[in-house]
């Protein structure tokens, strides 16, 4: 379980997070919605210590991330997959090499790595693209490779940063399916998005991040029936 506790983060004078607290229960997909630039990605990066919060902490499986040594952090990152908004594939490597990178670090043998690459590409339905370079792939394909890269590590958690942004509706739907499928494989997901269709499709629990705090958190049904005007406005997409 991931517990976010009173997370505060400012960039210079701009205060992004002002005490975010959220629980991510195991085995389910938690979706965090919110306006663009509200700090959803910042929150994700604090979870894997890519960013250091000014205050507050993140507890993963009972251990405080901010107090971890370098070695512990590396171990933690092995348990948490991260799917970047723009996939962040290494453009000097082929798809297979991208996926293999994290596996090599784990010290897996060649056969296992090859097998994992095949499996994870099969999950995202991109079998046969092993030897392609990221530049040869479409945006949606790159994102799926990003997911494959995370899935290949067999993590307990996957953090998705805007998985459907910039994709056409059909590809978005494919991504949603993927996220559901990985949850069914037993992976806990934390999805950050502002795409409500995707949020309702993927999320078992939905939280709204607004003005640096969690405005409301609840099940899909609870959020759909919310009476909070800010949340309502957001989920209904009214101007």
């Amino acid at each position: 379980m991931i517990t976010i506790d009173g997370l505060t983060k400012a960039f210079g004078a701009k205060r992004v997070l002002e005490g975010v607290s959220l629980e991510v229960p195991d085995g389910r997909n938690t979706v965090v919605i919110g306006y663009s630039g509200v700090g959803k990605s910042v929150m994700l990066k604090c979870i894997v210590a890519l960013l250091e919060p000014d205050a507050g902490q993140v507890v993963v499986d009972g251990a405080v991330v901010q107090a971890m040594s370098r070695g512990e952090l590396a171990e933690l990152r092995g348990r948490i997959g991260y799917v970047f908004q723009f996939a962040a594939l290494f453009d000097s490597m082929t798809v297979a090499e991208n996926i293999a990178l994290g596996l090599v670090k784990r010290g897996l043998d060649r056969d296992t790595i090859a097998q994992r690459i095949e499996e994870s590409l099969a999950v995202v339905e991109l079998s046969g693209t092993e030897d392609k370079y990221p530049a040869e792939l479409s945006g949606g394909m790159r994102k799926r490779v990003g997911i494959a890269r995370a899935v290949a590590l067999k993590p307990h958690y996957i953090l998705y940063d805007e998985p459907t942004s910039g994709l056409d509706p059909v590809t978005s739907a494919v991504m949603d399916q993927l996220m559901v499928r990985t949850r069914d494989l037993g992976v806990t997901g934390l999805v950050v998005t502002h795409d409500m269709r995707s949020a309702f499709c993927v999320g078992d629990r939905i939280a709204m991040l607004h003005e640096g705090r969690i405005r409301q958190v609840g099940t899909k049904a609870e959020i759909q029936a919310t009476e909070d005007p800010v949340v309502r406005q957001f989920i209904e997409g009214r101007p």
């Binding site: 990066k45 894997v48 210590a49 890519l50 250091e52 901010q66 971890m68 040594s69 370098r70 952090l73 590396a74 171990e75 990152r77 092995g78 948490i80 997959g81 991260y82 970047f84 908004q85 723009f86 962040a88 594939l89 290494f90 453009d91 990178l101 994290g102 670090k105 784990r106 890269r149 590590l153």
Partner: protein
């Protein structure tokens, strides 16, 4: 020191401390041999071997100019065979390492900064970290190490070519015979001259690559950010070369 604490320090103190901290991180990342060793050869090829043509190009013309200039200076006052001494000494001790270093600061420093800068702004560096890699061990160490090892190699070749071109110029364009040129070349030669130049170039390599990595990893988002960090990497690399050059002259001569 865990990275969050380190970044907290970086936010507060100045540039020099920043360089120091990065260097320390790089030094510490050296221990992670398994991460950087497979990448080293590729970087040595890219930063070192691929830089040989530009370095040799510069060396050829340095030799020619030195030969002609020194003959001009010596006319009437000093025997012409001193051209050999001047070409040899300056190419081995100063112009070989420094000009090669400068050229490679442009080529290597810029390419590192641009590459790492792009990786930084496209979150590839973050992605590396989430795959449990240490960015210093994976990105910085192989580059700095490769540059440190390969700069002397490139410089040694440049020295050879520079002196050769100086010799060819002296024989063909000046009224100087081959034995005379070599007599001058050997006149003041000490073994120190060569290793002094090579040691210098190794330090230049480390500095140039480190500046490139530093500026690349600190790149602000966007194409302009990457461009800026590239420019600053080259400028910083050249400055570092000149400072180190003076330092070695002070310490070793």
């Amino acid at each position: 020191m865990s990275p969050p604490v380190a970044s907290r320090i970086a936010a507060r103190d100045g540039f020099v401390a920043h360089i120091g901290r990065r260097s320390l991180e790089t030094a510490r990342a050296l221990a992670d041999v398994r991460t950087w060793s497979p990448l080293l050869m590729g970087q040595m090829r890219r930063l070192g071997v691929d830089s040989v043509p530009i370095a040799l190009f510069i060396a050829v013309f340095t030799g020619i100019v030195l030969s002609l200039l020194s003959s001009y200076i010596f006319t009437g006052a000093v025997p012409l065979y001193f051209v050999g001494a001047l070409v040899g000494k300056t190419v081995m001790m100063e112009l070989g390492p420094v000009l090669t270093g400068m050229a490679l600061a442009g080529r290597v420093g810029a390419s590192i900064a641009a590459e790492l800068g792009t990786m930084k702004v496209t979150e590839q560096v973050d992605a590396l970290e989430t795959l449990a890699y240490d960015r210093n061990a994976y990105l910085v160490v192989p580059r700095v190490l490769a540059a440190t090892l390969m700069f002397p190699v490139v410089t040694a070749l440049a020295m050879g070519v520079g002196i050769t071109s100086g010799w060819i110029t002296a024989v063909n364009l000046l009224d100087l015979s081959t034995p005379e040129f070599f007599k001058g070349l050997k006149l003041f030669y000490q073994f120190k001259d060569i290793w002094f130049g090579l040691l210098k170039s190794a330090s230049f390599g480390a500095a140039v690559a480190l500046m490139g990595c530093l500026r690349g990893l600190d790149a602000k988002s966007g194409a302009q950010g990457v461009g800026q960090s590239t420019t600053r990497a080259v400028v910083l690399g050249c400055e570092a070369i000149l400072v180190l050059d003076a330092f070695w002259a002070l310490v070793l001569l």
